[in-house]
């Protein structure tokens, strides 16, 4: 134990050098942890993107984009035709209806009816479809099917003085707000989600659709990514006057962007670990050489090779652990800014490529925080560096003959 204390005291022999080494080491470790975190989060986001979008095909009336989409319903037999196509495991039906209220600042809203009620909320904005975040209340549950539950966008709720628990009238139906969402777009946040049948009644009363069976958009869920091209082709062949869109191309581009970030982050992480290792090796070689005579003295007065080795290992570990702690602190304070600076361009591109999902991915990428994983990563890196840094000095110290060491000047 006394060897341990002695070794720790040794790191204060040259305080300026020690502080500088710990600062540089900490910086390298901090960057390495940031890169590792980036790579991990990007990997998870990339996987989620593929899982969520790659098997999805969007079917909508031909030429129906943006706000015009809600006015043009799909043909009556569209659903029947789609259900007969092999490899399809689910359909999510949407009806988008424009609502104009000249008494409000935001006069145009979109009412989105969906079936099944637990389908993913997809905000319709400028031809892009994205997943909003529930910021208050809750998402739809199965028992909301058939009830007059509604989830409102933040701006729609604000402009209509609505909150979770409040109600509003829609063509004679009273709708209860169960949740508020934020899509990241002003346009998207001016919408509401309600059950499909309620939306259909309203759309008929407003003469948007001719009867209460019509819908404006279908999301087709395919059983595997491999079958998406075939199903897409079949849909185009069997359906008239529709646009068939798969997210595959966008997802491919998004995945490519994410893969690039992930790859570069991993390389960056390895590179910074390498830099850290070189710093600690250089430091310990320098210290080992400086202490050559001291090694000889210790051996002359009875220290075993094990005791000399222990001193170096503890000293290296202490430097590496202090570097790790400093690295973790640096990560906690500066990683979000660093990540933003490193990934800003890529995430912006990503957001543009894949709409709301891209925005979510961008948010995930930037959501750095101190966690057990980060601390563990820092500590493991410290241990790894301590091992790497001690190998040569310990080997040299053990091999050094005392008489030879005592002659060293």
């Amino acid at each position: 134990m006394r060897t341990v204390f002695r070794a720790i005291r040794n790191i204060y022999r040259s305080p300026t050098r020690t502080i500088l080494i710990i600062a540089v080491l900490g910086l390298a470790i901090g960057i390495s942890i940031t890169m590792q975190q980036t790579a991990t989060i990007v990997s998870a986001t990339s996987k989620a993107l593929k899982e969520n979008i790659q098997t999805l095909i969007e079917v909508r009336a031909e030429g129906a984009t943006g706000m015009g989409r809600g006015v043009q319903p799909l043909a009556e037999d569209t659903v029947e035709k789609i259900e007969d196509i092999p490899n399809i495991i689910g359909l999510e039906k949407y009806l988008y209806v424009r609502r104009v209220d000249n008494t409000k600042k935001y006069t145009v809203s979109v009412i989105s009816g969906l079936y099944p009620i637990t389908s993913e909320l997809r905000v319709n904005s400028h031809g892009e479809v994205g997943a909003p975040t529930i910021v208050k209340g809750r998402a739809f549950r199965e028992d909301d099917e058939g009830n007059n539950a509604a989830i409102a966008g933040t701006i729609f709720a604000q402009e209509n003085n609505l909150d979770v628990g409040s109600s509003f009238e829609l063509d004679g139906e009273t709708l209860d707000i169960i949740g508020i969402f934020d899509s990241g777009f002003v346009f998207g946040d001016n919408q509401i989600f309600i059950p499909l049948d309620t939306a259909q009644k309203f759309a008929v009363s407003q003469e948007y659709i001719p009867d209460e069976t019509r819908i404006s958009q279908i999301f087709v869920v395919v059983n595997s990514v491999d079958n998406v091209p075939l199903v897409e082709k079949t849909l185009r062949e069997q359906l008239d006057d529709v646009d068939v869109l798969s997210g595959q191309k966008n997802v491919f581009l998004a995945s490519e962007a994410l893969s690039t970030i992930q790859r570069e982050s991993f390389y960056g992480s390895y590179f910074t670990v390498l830099i850290s290792a070189l710093i600690i090796i250089f430091t310990m070689v320098l210290i080992g050489r400086e202490r050559t005579k001291e090694i000889g003295i210790l051996k002359a007065i009875g220290a075993s090779n094990g005791e000399v080795a222990k001193q170096f290992i503890v000293e290296t570990s202490a430097i590496a652990i202090l570097g790790s702690i400093f690295g973790i602190i640096l990560f906690a304070f500066f990683a979000p800014f660093l990540a933003n600076s490193l990934l800003g361009l890529s995430t912006t591109s990503l957001t543009g490529l894949s709409g709301g999902m891209g925005a979510q991915a961008a948010d995930d990428i930037l959501s750095f925080s101190i966690s057990a994983k980060v601390i563990l990563s820092g500590v493991l890196l410290g241990i790894l560096l301590a091992i790497i840094g001690s190998i040569y000095p310990v080997y040299r110290a053990v091999k050094l003959k005392p008489a030879e060491a005592l002659r060293y000047e």
């Binding site: 005291r9 022999r13 001291e294 051996k299 002359a300 007065i301 009875g302 090779n305 005392p402 008489a403």
Partner: protein
């Protein structure tokens, strides 16, 4: 009075190579050190092989030829662990440039060999304080070496050499960095220690002035013991 042979050298040689030149620093020396309670000087000019001989006696080095016998065993066959055990228990070293650990206090420096002996801290501290008191340096026990004078540092080094109660104290030019008065004091101190503690103290030196104080003197030249006085 019968005396035990502590170390025996049989036809020992130590050879160094400098480029193509072969230097026999110790050349075919046969000698033994007994449990004598005496201060013994090995005298010789620079380069005569004094330090090399001392390193062989202290198991800091092993011979290229011949045998160094310790307790009936040839140290050439010792493992590293056995060599460090021998140095730890049987030998105390005093060096010309004191060789104290600079970031440890005088007391901690003296406690260091006892740490290697796994002596409990309280016991080691008590013994270190006793030794520093005997060497009249206890009042400086909390000072680190750079704050001590040369004579004070050498006293601390002698206390450290005695810490594990070794049979032999080997001193390599212990007065080399001291003024003549302090040098004489240190040699007198080593002589008293040899007597009072019954240690065999071997000093290598080229300082002819101090050899009058010692009990025995050996002259070393070109790696050979050429005379005993």
């Amino acid at each position: 009075m019968s005396m035990n042979k502590l170390i025996e050298l049989k036809n020992v040689s130590k050879i160094f190579k400098q480029g193509d030149t072969v230097i026999r620093a110790v050349d075919n020396v046969t000698w033994s050190i007994e449990d004598s309670g005496k201060l013994i000087a090995i005298v010789g000019p620079s380069g005569s092989g004094k330090t090399t001989l001392l390193n062989l006696l202290g198991a800091l080095d092993i011979p290229d030829q011949g045998e160094v016998i310790i307790e009936g065993k040839n140290i050439s066959h010792f493992s590293e662990k056995q060599l460090s055990e021998y140095r730890k228990r049987k030998i105390g070293f005093v060096f010309q440039s004191y060789n104290l650990i600079p970031n440890l206090t005088a007391l901690e420096n003296v406690m260091l060999p006892m740490e290697f002996l796994r002596m409990p801290r309280e016991q080691a501290e008590k013994r270190a304080e006793e030794l520093l008191r005997e060497l009249k340096i206890e009042h400086r026990k909390n000072q680190k070496p750079p704050k001590l004078s040369g004579g004070e540092q050498q006293r601390v080094a002698i206390a450290r050499a005695l810490a594990n109660d070794p049979d032999i104290v080997l001193a390599d030019e212990p007065t080399g960095n001291l003024d003549s008065r302090t040098g004489r004091e240190i040699i007198q101190l080593l002589k008293n220690l040899a007597r009072t503690k019954n240690k065999t103290v071997i000093v290598v030196t080229h300082d002819e002035g101090i050899v009058e104080i010692v009990d025995e003197k050996y002259i070393l030249r070109d790696g050979k013991i050429i005379a005993q006085a």
